[in-house]
Symmetry: C2
DNA sequence: ATGAAAGCGCTAACAG
DNA sequence: CTGTTAGCGCTTTCAT
């Protein structure tokens, strides 16, 4: 038995719709796009046909004509994803709302791959590019000869004429320190990551500036080290030795804070009663798993992504846009580790 | 002074190339694509012109003609990203190699948004869709009336005729348990997440089956609870009470294992000397931050993504592909928490 | 109010 | 060996 000449899943074209509605292609187009004037009956007939055939305009054809693709590229080097994922999702969120689709590229922090992907994105005629990273360290921009706007999110270009948007690490340090002071602490130590990281330096600067405003100095030296729990454990001992009267520790990351918490406990210092503890990142599995749950600073990564996307949209739309490095305010997330029990 | 009629950044078209090389458009096309025969000199002239003008074929035009888009959609519901990100990057990796670009969509686990994004992806004429999740729990498929193939990665469709690829949780449980037995342990307890999770049940099943093979039973009850450190801490006490002679604990997640480690230490049990400890996930910040560093099971999430992508490519290519639920073997990552000091 | 025709950038078939 | 032509699906004048 020969099967009927069933139309395979070839998507319906406007031509099919026009034929089904017994109108010309041009009329069908107008009906579908609400353009031009025509008899209601005609329009309805076309729309009904489109509906029935499950017609969807081919975006390639539309884009070809309009000279637009309604796509942007999202280039990330942070395979690990801890930081860039929230940024990416924020960006995707803001772009998706505007009917812009996002091409995802993972460069694995490899400049060769990055170059390759940029090529591909441009070949695809993306209308803009968002570059995200895992560190806020300045990095060389991806070039200015690009035919589309570029924004840097959670990373910054060394080029002042690029637009970069990063967390306000300094402000985050200020927030945490103010909070510690507000709970009545005055001997505040600081344990953080490598001094080579701008984020570490900025957070520390926020702390010292805020302490200075209150006429205070950090308890002990500021301890730069690594972004690890192990360093937190070690550093806590160093700090306790250098400043035995320490009554608060602000840490450059939640991981470090957990290490500090552990050592404090083992040395018989109660958190928060004897020593208040604040982290940075609001990395929930870390912060909530801490004993007690950790007060920390949230960098609003999603917001960074959203702002980057909006900026990109503006640039694509040809609006005048600022350049330079911009920051997004951080937010304090108070938890038990700084709550003074009465 | 009138500025010269500078060509704005309008990308060069094949027409420009043809004109610059003084050939017809058709000839230019052939030269650029290595199709057809022609004088070397002509070909070179065209290629040189293309080079000089920075010509890139417009993928929209190519796709329009070929009826293909060389894009696939990646739909994730796991905004948190802990599990789906490695899967996504693995998929992106496998697809990128094949010149396929990936549209990223975050549904935030919201069926409405999912529906919306599917619509958008189909409107964009993606050639296939990968659905990823944060749990391996069966979920309703996204439908069979779709005009493109779909694969489920790190989540599974309830529909047997769909193709799903998930970690081998049971095999992971077997690996961990064998390892514990190999270090000479015989009283193995198990603390894991909610029984409602298939992953928890499978990992537990791997454990009990492996113990049974050795003529053993779990030490104490299998403790189902939550995926949290806090639960690990509580459960360890329960376990120590129920089976004081326990000499190993296999945990359903690294987070749980950390909680268990903490309680063990506080109760004076040394890890690994008195009690060996194994986790699950190989979530490095957790596993490495543990004291001592945690032996754990890696689910090979990247591989899951890669395989999903390859399967999708095969399906797109029209090759016959299997359906049903498939698993990717897990791998043991031995660290100090199970190393018997001599 | 509707239809015909041109053209977006490209490739493929066919002439010359 | 090269040029011409048709057409992918769609929108947009411009006739009718």
């Amino acid at each position: 038995m020969a099967s009927p000449p069933e139309q395979v899943a070839r998507p319906a074209t406007i031509r099919d719709v026009a034929a089904a509605a017994a109108v010309s292609i041009g009329t069908a187009s107008k009906a579908l796009n609400g353009r031009g004037r025509m008899r209601d009956e005609t329009r309805d007939r076309v729309l009904a046909a489109a509906e029935r055939l499950g017609f969807r305009p081919n975006p390639l054809a539309q884009g070809l004509l309009a000279g637009r693709t309604y796509t942007v590229g999202l280039v990330t080097g942070d395979s690990y994803g801890r930081f860039s994922i929230p940024v990416m999702l924020g960006a995707e969120d803001a772009l998706g709302a505007g009917q812009i689709s996002v091409f995802l590229c993972d460069t694995r922090d490899d400049p060769i791959r990055e170059r390759h992907y940029l090529d591909r994105l441009l070949a695809r005629r993306v209308e803009g590019i968002i570059v995200t990273g895992r560190r806020t360290e300045p990095r060389p921009g991806i070039g200015h000869d690009l035919p589309v706007p570029v924004v840097y999110a959670m990373t910054q270009s060394t080029d002042e004429s690029d637009y970069s948007i990063i967390p306000d690490d300094r402000g985050g340090g200020v927030l945490a320190t103010r909070h510690l002071l507000a709970t009545g602490r005055t001997r505040v130590g600081h344990v953080t990551g490598p001094e080579g990281f701008q984020a570490a330096r900025e957070r520390a600067a926020g702390l010292t500036a805020t302490l200075a405003e209150a006429g205070l100095e950090p308890a002990g030296e500021i301890l730069f080290g690594e972004w690890s729990e192990e360093w937190g454990r070690q550093a806590a001992d160093i700090l306790l030795h250098a400043a035995p009267d320490v009554d608060a520790v602000f840490c450059g990351s939640d991981q470090i804070a957990r290490g500090v918490a552990e050592t404090l406990r083992e040395r018989g210092r109660r958190v928060p009663d004897d020593v208040a503890l604040a982290g940075f990142d609001n990395w929930e599995p870390m912060a909530l798993g801490c004993r007690p749950p950790l007060t920390t600073v949230d960098m609003n990564l999603g917001e960074i992504g959203r702002l980057a996307a909006r900026h990109l949209l503006d640039a694509i739309a040809g609006k005048p846009v600022p350049s330079g490095v911009h920051t997004v305010p951080a937010a304090l997330v108070p938890r038990a580790s700084t709550r003074r029990s009465i």
